[in-house]
């Protein structure tokens, strides 16, 4: 099986183009990865003969840090790229600007494969790793589409301060929290852009739902399933899906298994259907828990924090001295005393004490995974972590 190691930029795209046209199944490995060569070799070795042509493999370490491999069928993903073209109203888009690694399913399908299928240009950048180059590309963009993860927004807005890029006409967000609270800032910088909240997961390869930013007022509203996708919840509100474009197999925790047509596949999120027909996320299954008998949903706390704080904000779980699970709020960059005060006042006003963070901490920069999402594991060991406030409990 062919293994393509992502090197970044047009070279990877050229190699991918060749690999996509060849019958042999290929695997695309991220540039930066915690996956060992042995793990990858074992994972690829588990792929049965019938999947060794016409497919492709992507890898994710996810925010949980547990490595996973998903196997996609090229034909299905091409079909998805066509569906995305329609539902994302991409006909006017002439080019797409890459800021994320191509080995990340969102960028792979929504940008690289879409550009191939729709015969549009893809412009490769080093993303926020080289903001000067990215700003040049944004300035020269003409009817371009940008794909971002929400965690990139605070840094992007800092670099874009006072600038305006009318050549961007579509911005797609996926992979983590939708930056609903920053829509006005985004509209100032990208005045011609229509913004979309896309929801999915690697097993969905990757898209499940979409909504235009203006169609709801809360970040957790993920809109409606795209054609070919069904969503449902089980008794414990775990969000599950069936999709014509889903991955055909996955390897997780050392177990390789086929994903069948009929099965409802867990997304790892909790959610529910609103009376309007839209779906709303309640958080990752591990982001909703009880504390002193009260239900804590991390996304809801983050929504409140993001109304007060323009930088990056993250919550991680920790057990307090009473043995109850709580959350620690990490801000970046470091807040002033008045920022902390304002946040605490917001907690006092809007949340019961059980929802208050155990601590408010800050780091100079939130560590990220190669796909731009926050790296929760590295965060706890970040050097220079400062504590600004703590609950005495």
């Amino acid at each position: 099986m062919r293994i393509i190691k992502e090197t970044g930029g047009p070279e990877t795209a050229r190699v991918l183009d060749q690999a996509w046209s060849a019958p042999e199944t290929f695997a695309l490995l991220p540039t930066k990865t915690s996956l060992t060569a042995e793990w990858v070799e074992q994972a690829l070795g588990a792929i049965p003969l019938e999947l060794q042509s016409g497919h492709f493999c992507l890898f994710t370490s996810g925010t949980t840090g547990d490595p996973k491999m998903v196997v996609g069928e090229r034909r299905r993903s091409e079909k998805l790229a066509c569906v995305l073209h329609a539902v994302q109203d991409s006909e006017p888009v002439k080019e797409t600007i890459g800021t994320l690694p191509l080995s990340y399913c969102f960028a792979f399908v929504n940008q690289w494969l879409w550009s191939r299928v729709s015969q549009r240009k893809m412009i490769h950048t080093h993303g926020l790793g080289r903001p000067d180059l990215l700003l040049d590309v944004l300035a020269q963009a003409q009817q371009a589409m940008l794909c971002l993860v929400g965690a990139q927004v605070p840094t992007l807005m800092e670099h874009c301060a006072g600038r305006c890029f009318p050549g961007i006409i579509r911005i797609h967000f996926a992979g983590g929290r939708f930056p609903q609270e920053r829509l006005l800032d985004l509209a100032r910088v990208f005045p011609s852009a229509e913004i979309f909240n896309n929801y999915g997961c690697a097993e969905a390869m990757p898209r499940l739902t979409i909504r235009r930013a203006g169609e709801a007022e809360v970040a957790t509203n993920i809109g409606r399933p795209i054609p070919g996708v069904e969503l449902a919840t089980d008794d414990s509100f775990a969000l599950v899906f069936r999709s014509s474009y889903r991955a055909v197999a996955q390897l997780e925790n050392g177990v390789f298994r086929r994903i069948t047509e009929e099965e409802w596949v867990p997304t790892g999120d909790l959610g529910h259907r609103l009376p309007t027909g839209d779906w709303e996320l309640q958080g990752r299954a591990n982001e909703v828990f009880k504390r002193y008998g009260e239900k804590i949903a991390i996304p809801q706390i983050l929504t409140m924090v993001n109304r007060q704080w323009r930088g990056s904000a993250l919550l991680y779980r920790e057990t307090d001295a009473m043995g109850e699970e709580g959350v620690v709020l990490v801000l970046s960059p470091g807040p002033t005393e008045s920022h902390v005060r304002a946040l605490l006042q917001a907690f006092r006003k809007e949340q019961p004490r059980s929802h208050w963070p155990l601590r408010i901490e800050s780091v100079a920069a939130i560590p990220t995974l190669p796909n731009g999402k926050p790296d929760g594991k590295a965060l706890r060991q970040s050097p220079g972590l400062q504590v600004h406030w703590r609950q005495r409990i």
């Binding site: 002193y292 001295a321 605490l344 907690f347 006092r348 004490r353 005495r392 409990i393």
Partner: protein
């Protein structure tokens, strides 16, 4: 910092009230955040700040700032500086 200033700082920090709201006759019913978890927090805070660990019964019996002053005074912590 006097003990009264320390107590003010503790009350502001634990109940997230504005410093201007602090007064000696502040009662538990005046502070919406002085709930059951707040009782635990003020107990921990008193121990951290003044070195005296109130029993759960003592912490529950605190009906206001003046009760804290009375409790700590009875343990030899002076508030008349």
């Amino acid at each position: 910092m006097t003990n009264l200033e320390k107590l003010k700082s503790l009350i502001v920090d634990v109940f997230l009230i504005d410093p201007s709201e602090f007064r000696l006759d502040l009662r538990r019913e005046d502070v919406d955040t002085w709930d059951s978890l707040g009782v635990v927090s003020i107990g921990v805070g008193i121990e951290e700040t003044f070195g005296y660990h109130p029993t759960p019964d003592e912490a529950r019996a605190l009906r206001g700032v003046q009760d804290i002053v009375t409790l700590l005074t009875s343990k030899g912590i002076a508030f008349h500086e």
